[in-house]
């Protein structure tokens, strides 16, 4: 029952959190998990010791003000919602009256396998990976919308006019920044190499600092933050992809985008994690990646398919 190390850590973390609940009583299941693999105890001990080590630091913190209820939008009662909608429509009507909104959109698009960089009037530039579409607006030059694919934004910072990127339901605001955004299959992945980005201000409002990556579900807003060495952000620009336990499905999607060919994974190994660096060879030598990924690669009419080794 060996698990991937990242998976083991996640499970260990879940146990630590559950055990901190005062009523926790699932020790039998915990014993079985520990017994399944000695690596489980090691991962658990390392994390539980670090968690315990927070005691002194946390109790030294100044206490927070009284807790107040923070209802989620979905839970707002109907009257509040109608009130809000009414207020919003009044604001909309008033602003319509005050000035005619101008919008002058234009699109930058790349075919799969093609990469391209556009420079904006303010000196900011946007590097597009293959299979990407970004909408820009001449009337609102400090906004961009990632319709699909992956793009690296290197923004010349202006504190009075922060640059905003929209990707599906996700909104990002730069705080002096170079950052990569990937939008794929309802998932959003933001990696920051310089400065910081604010994720969904007004909702989650998470600040992503340089050297960090946030992975979110675009629909639910569920997210995870982790570390990424700044130098590996948007590695596709140098033909280098760095992974830290991401699924082979994700690796295949990245390769498809980069090479512009269809690369699939058999379901049996789609969820398998990969940790390592891929130096991307020319398209003709793509099968040299197989031993590094620890898979077999087979060519078919559709493209390539990754199968268990």
């Amino acid at each position: 029952m060996a698990q991937e190390p990242a998976m083991t850590e996640q499970t260990a973390l879940d146990w630590i959190i559950r055990q901190r609940d005062p009523g926790f009583d699932d020790w039998g299941a915990f014993v079985l998990w520990l017994e399944a693999d000695p690596a489980h105890a090691d991962a658990y001990h390392a994390m539980a010791a670090a968690d315990k080590g927070l005691d002194d630091l946390l109790t030294s913190l100044p206490t927070v003000q009284e807790m107040t209820a923070m209802p989620e939008p979905a839970r707002l009662n109907r009257r509040a919602w109608i009130g809000g909608a009414l207020a919003a429509s009044i604001v909309a009507a008033v602003s319509l009256y005050l000035y005619v909104p101008r919008s002058d959109p234009w699109a930058v698009e790349t075919a799969p396998g093609v990469r391209r960089t556009v420079t904006l009037a303010d000196g900011s530039n946007i590097a597009l990976n293959g299979g990407t579409r970004v909408m820009l607006d001449h009337a609102n030059p400090r906004t961009a919308s990632l319709e699909r694919g992956e793009a690296m934004f290197t923004i010349s910072h202006d504190p009075d006019h922060p640059f905003e990127v929209q990707a599906g339901e996700t909104r990002l605001v730069d705080i002096g920044t170079a950052f990569n955004v990937l939008r794929d299959n309802g998932q959003i992945d933001i990696a920051v190499s310089e400065g910081a980005v604010l994720y969904n201000p007004g909702r989650e409002a998470v600040r992503i600092d340089a050297g960090h990556r946030l992975h979110a579900d675009d629909k639910t807003g569920t997210y995870m933050l982790d570390d990424i060495p700044g130098s590996t952000v948007a590695g596709w620009r140098q033909g280098r992809l760095v992974y830290d336990g991401q699924s082979l499905e994700r690796v295949a999607a990245d390769l498809s985008r980069y090479y512009g060919i269809n690369i699939a994974v058999t379901p049996a190994i789609a969820g398998q994690g990969f940790r390592g660096v891929l130096s991307l060879p020319p398209k003709e030598k793509i099968e040299t990646l197989a031993p590094i990924l620890n898979v077999n690669m087979r060519q078919d009419a559709m493209g390539w398919i990754l199968t268990p080794r």
Binding site: Q19, A46, A49, K52
Partner: protein, 170 residues
Amino acid sequence: MTKSGLNAIFIANRERLLRFLAAHGAGDAAEDLLQELWLKIEAAPPGPVGNPLSYLYRTANNLVIDRHRATTQAVKRDRAWSESVSGEAGQSDAPLSERQIIAQQQLEQVQQALDSLGQRASRIFRRHRIDGIAQKDIAAELGISLSTVESDLRLAYRTMIDLRRRFDEV
């Protein structure tokens, strides 16, 4: 729960507790730890305990974690000591003021990390980790779903534990 009651539960569940400690990889130390657990409940019997077996498991679990911390910190002290005698004196024995500065910096980093989680996750984490409130009670208190509490706690614990581990690497 009277003192003798808890002891009786201990004796009745001795094998289960031993198996638990062995599952922790305690090996030969499992018997030692069990002994330590016994002495602990003898020396400082808790007040009324709702679920005595769960209490014993939890206390045993804390002993394992404490022992793990003691061992790794001892290893670190040993290494620091041997470094200081092998010509890098002064590094491991920072003067008090410097240690205070480090502590202050760590505190600031903890605060920043909490802030970076966003207001909601930070509050939920404090409520759970510092105040010891159950997840379902936090959900009710803030009027949010249990799954939101769960996902916020995952992010928060992960962030804070990773930060604490980085302090140890220094």
